[in-house]
Amino acid sequence: MTLTAYLEGVGLLGPGLANWPTLRAIFSGAEPYRPAPTVLPAPALLPAAERRRSGAIVRLTLATGLEAVAAAGLDAASLPSVFSASGGDGENCHAICAALASDDRQDRQISPTRFHNSVHNTASGYWGIATGSMRPSSVLSAFDASFGAGLIEALTQTVVDDTRSVFLACDTAYPEPLNGVRPLPDAFGIALVFAPQHSARALARISVTLSDENADRLAEPALERLRLSIPAARGLPLLRAVALGGEHDVVLDYLDGTRLSVTVASC
């Protein structure tokens, strides 16, 4: 069983990667990859109160999602969305667990904002507030398989419900001590806009099926380290195929014992 949809826009943010054109130039060989800490832009679209309350994962998804939607020439309010992340807002989670470890009742009074930002769908909630989209939003986690889980969710939404959809894979780092048990070196996010039919906007046709093959590796060592160290970056081989143009078969990492075989054909 193969799922097929059309990629219409890409958004990207990661260590040394300011946007999709930066990564495309690296994959096409025009520029070298120069790792540097991820720079998260302020979420200009959010009202001032929400902007102050927004954590790294909100800034990351707004930046990548809006880049992808703008590249596709679409209105974000019209799109259903799929968010997939291994964990939520790591800084916020740490602050809550630290406060709750106290024996003192006063110390345990975590702030209302901290609490409502603790849900895994925080980024989806702020995305709705920022873009005005009332369309369905799926919010997933599958640990290291989060990219693949979100990709299949977005593609089935696109194909079955016959709708464009934006998929946002994103991960941000935990502070210590959680970083010690779940090390994620930096923030990284990919956003992809899919359409059910071919149109003038289409960048590539994407066909996905479940597979037993081993996941593709990236030749550039620093990018391969990135792929292996952040769940959302498991999608990098797909983006490489898009950047190179033409038709490519790639295998993406997914669950233990189950991978995704993807055919990418430029339009």
Binding site: I110, H116, H120, S124, I129, S138, V139, I152, L155, L178
Partner: protein, 403 residues
């Protein structure tokens, strides 16, 4: 959509382990809510606690997953012959053709809360026996089920606060319709932890009594823990007489506020409307609504407006409805699946379950809220699940033999 057969289901909550105990509690109008005696929590609130979770043992190969949330999931999976049904489906369709979509909001974070009390006094490190991946991470319960049943198909955890385990029905529907799978294990689990008890308390949303949904004097939620699971398959031509089908799913986002519902219930309205549209049913065809009904002032008011807009005329809805959270408490990420199973029990047993604890229905809400159980045929039911972040999901279930 093509109707899906909910071929097997089970639920475990503070009102009972398994379908028999749950149905008996609903019939006897028994609430599971009790004054909070949980860990070191010093809040004057009520909780719905599942007894005996400390003595549930996971199989030897799955001991890495040992935490309250996973023990609750494991206990529930093994009620009502459900695990055997999953194994039979896996044998019938193949391990790769069975999808796994579970919902949770807080996963095993209680384990992390406990680990934070045992941090190394010098380095601040978490204790070496703490296993983040198998307890805290939202995917942990799906990984447990994947390993327990040997599944190798698509798998994900939906974690969108209190809509989580309603949304898994939507994911499963799409995967089945796409032909990627032939069956789906869906469900939800959430367990008591300090994050939600103190968190909702800080928002001023927890009642000092057992929660009273839709009451004039409602003053907040009571948090409960629960797990519920269902097996979805394409409906065959021949079905058992009391077979329950999933007819429609509606999803929406409020795009309004992180912790307050849209005041007019606009997102909720869209979710119910879209579920009816997918089911091909008029609002008048729904026999019972299992409300989200958390018992906070704003949530119940917004949901009532949405129900009246979809089901009512002149701001009043006659469709029988209730919130079963007065019995189970608000089981958060498990609520969508728990209440879908309660709807399935209502359909199979001809029971309209009354809301518990509510004395005086808020007359401004304009809904037909049930204070007494009804014993009569129930052919169709709609279940609402809404959550923080403005996430909404409505499910429509029906008897296959409805006229």
């Amino acid at each position: 959509m093509n109707p899906l057969w909910i071929s097997h289901f089970t639920v475990t909550s503070s009102i009972g382990c398994g379908l028999g105990a749950t149905l008996a509690a609903l019939r006897e109008r028994r609430s599971g809510l009790v004054p909070c005696l949980f860990d070191t929590v010093d809040l004057d609130v009520f909780i719905g606690k599942v007894d005996g979770l400390d003595t549930v043992h996971l199989p030897e190969a799955l001991t890495d997953f040992n935490c309250r949330n996973n023990r609750l999931a494991f206990l529930a999976l093994n009620q009502d012959g459900f695990a055997d049904a999953v194994r039979a489906a896996t044998g019938k369709y193949g391990a790769r053709r069975v999808g796994l979509f579970l919902g949770t909001s807080t996963s095993g974070i209680f384990e992390t809360e406990l680990a934070y009390r045992r941090r190394d006094p010098v380095s601040g490190a978490l204790p070496p026996d703490f296993d983040y991946r198998s307890t805290h991470n939202p995917f942990a319960v799906a990984e447990l089920a994947r390993r327990y049943f040997g599944l190798s198909g698509p798998a994900a955890v939906a974690s969108s606060a209190c809509s989580s385990s309603a949304k898994v029905f939507a994911s499963a529907r799409r995967m089945l319709a796409a032909g990627l799978i032939d069956a789906a294990l869906v469900g939800g689990v959430d367990s008591l932890c300090l994050t939600t008890l103190y968190g909702f308390n800080s928002l001023g949303l927890v009642s000092p009594r057992a929660c009273r949904p839709f009451d004039l004097a409602r003053d907040g939620i009571s948090i409960g823990e629960a797990a519920a699971f269902a097996l979805l398959e394409r409906a065959p031509n021949e079905l058992p007489a009391d077979a329950v089908l999933l007819l429609g799913v509606g999803e929406s986002s409020d795009a309004y506020h992180m912790s307050s519902p849209h005041p007019e219930g606009l997102g909720a309205r869209i979710a119910m409307h879209d579920a009816l549209k997918m089911a091909g049913l008029e609002p008048s065809a729904i026999d019972y609504i299992n409300l989200h009904g958390t018992a906070t002032q704003n949530n119940d008011a917004a949901e009532a407006k949405a129900v009246c807009a979809v089901f009512g005329a002149d701001g009043v809805s006659q469709t029988p409805c209730s919130s079963t959270k007065g019995a189970t408490g608000h089981t958060l990420g498990a609520a969508g699946s728990v209440e879908a199973v309660i709807c399935a029990l209502a359909l199979q047993n001809g029971l309209l379950p009354a809301g518990l604890n509510t004395r005086e229905i808020d007359p401004s809400l304009g809904v037909n809220y049930l204070l007494h159980n009804g014993e009569r045929p129930v052919n169709t039911a709609l279940s609402n699940s809404f959550g923080f972040g403005g996430t909404n999901c409505s499910l429509i279930l029906a008897r296959a033999d409805r006229p």
